[in-house]
Symmetry: C2
Subunit: 317 residues, 2 copies
């Protein structure tokens, strides 16, 4: 049984938080930054997204790990109260592995190694108990697998989705099919440019909506994030991080926190999306202040709430 | 006599706007962008800054033009009510000339030609009537010349200053002397990094204050601007410009609007600086929507006010 992890106290419409389903990769990373090196640390989009979401609402995780994924790592998800019924353990090989290096300004990262391992033949299968989850974070995996998740869902579900350059280049048709079934696309600026062919982030953002999603969020790292929504545009600066350690997973944590907040308040109106972005920015800022998911797990709800309030303050003229 | 140009109606502490002095370059530019080419168009930091400031308060301009600066160009400043007693006309040669090219993504510009002309021996001399101006925008010129301006001022003056990579590389000692006498340094992100040697914009921004200025604003173009102030940090996204035509002068217009607003309300507290940044961002967004100062001049106060209100709206969670 998952533990009950401490959550943020939010003003919600009811007293019941809706659960969120997070689907994506769970991985081991080797990370080299200008300041430190991390070996075989917990990574993967779904790890960051599920841990982030767990600050807001009950989380159900679908992913795959291999025969080298020790209990201590499983325990990290359990400690944040995450439901792991959907986490497949594939004994046939090791966990997905990625090695990357950040250069001096952190603006570019280089992939040094990718070993798909058990992730290569992964198909996200939803346990029966997950099929009616009303909020879904489709973290970055192939769009064909993302579609397979949507096909298993029953009932109303608000779908947040991320993707990456690899799929825009190699599985564009599947990605375009997926986008017609997504409520909120949350991708980074370079992906928005690739997907629309428009170098102006503002016009690119609006063009994303023509591809299907009702709204789109463009993540710009240290330059914040912006929302393109039928009710209007919203721009949010980043939290002023000084102690940058490892940007890996910041965007995934952002997506997870976003979906988690929306599920917690069970509301997806314009105002709620904007509030979710502030919380997601707070969570992302904590994520990058240590390697892996370390600070994301250890920060605690009080610090997340403090950053949220600080963000409101530093963005108010 | 300068004309009386229409200004924004602002809530001020008194009914009298303080004047602002703008010192810097007036130039002819040739600009090549991915969409258009402009030949011998009005440029120079002081042109953009003074025209921007003229939306808020009476402006006094100190600069130099050559024997090729036709009356029609002089008239453009007069039409915005700018006091030109301090604008030197040097008949010994042509006006400062700059040619530049923007590449496809507008992120980098290349200098194709620089002809200093009459600007080479320019010394900014303040007419007697300018010496007690309580607000000063030191647009980008050599720091030795900026110091020469400060040496002529009498009485209290709030000093906003800009600079550029050229002076950081070639006149660092003079620049560091200047900074000890500046209230608000307003420079772009790459200059902040050069000046502090810190690649993190947030810690770089705070380090700027250690060089002398009481506060610093870092301008980040399409990513907005941020303020480092004894009372706190403030981050403001850019206005979502879709119709980008020519980014030249946006930073100068920002600085001029900032100083102009502060002079108009005759207040430099934290709240006023933040408000000034919103107006400056509104003005900068208009500036880049056409070549040269064209849209800056033609926009009119109602459109500036509209953008200001839009900025408040799109940045409020």
């Amino acid at each position: 049984m998952p533990k009950i992890a401490e959550k943020l106290v939010l003003e919600t419409r009811s007293n019941v938080s809706a659960p969120v389903l997070v689907v994506g990769s769970v991985a081991f990373d080797n990370i080299i930054t200008p300041v430190m090196t991390g070996d075989r640390i917990l990574g993967g989009a779904a790890s960051f997204a599920s841990l982030a979401a767990s600050y807001f609402t009950p989380v159900r995780l679908v992913g795959v790990v291999g025969n080298d994924f020790e209990d201590a790592f499983i325990e990290r998800f359990r400690n944040r109260g995450i439901d792991l019924e959907g986490l497949q353990v594939d004994e046939s090989g090791p966990t997905f592995f990625w090695a990357g290096k950040y250069h001096e300004n952190y603006n570019n990262r280089e992939t040094l190694d990718t070993q798909l391992n058990v992730f290569e033949h992964f198909r996200p299968e939803l346990p029966e108990s997950y099929c009616r989850t009303p909020y879904l974070m489709l973290a970055n995996i192939g769009p064909d697998l993302q579609i397979h998740v949507l096909d298993q869902l029953q009932g109303r579900c608000f779908v947040v989705a991320d993707t990456m350059n690899l799929w825009i280049n190699n599985k564009l048709d599947e990605l375009l099919s997926l986008l017609k079934r997504v409520d909120c696309l949350a991708i980074n600026d370079s992906e928005a440019i690739m997907l629309t062919g428009d170098r102006n982030i503002i016009s690119a953002g609006w063009k994303l909506l023509e591809l299907g999603p009702r709204m789109a969020i463009v993540k710009k790292g240290e330059n914040g994030a912006c929302l393109f929504h039928p009710d209007g545009y919203f721009a949010l600066p980043a939290y002023p991080v000084v102690n940058l350690q490892d940007p890996t997973g910041a965007g995934d944590a952002f997506g997870g926190a976003l979906a988690g907040y929306l599920a917690a308040v069970d509301n997806t109106d314009f105002k709620s999306i904007k509030q979710a972005m502030v919380y997601a920015t707070a969570i992302a800022s904590l994520t990058v202040e240590a390697f892996s998911c370390d600070r994301l797990e250890s920060a605690g709800p009080a610090l997340v709430e403090e950053r949220y309030r600080e963000l409101l303050q530093i963005t108010a003229p």
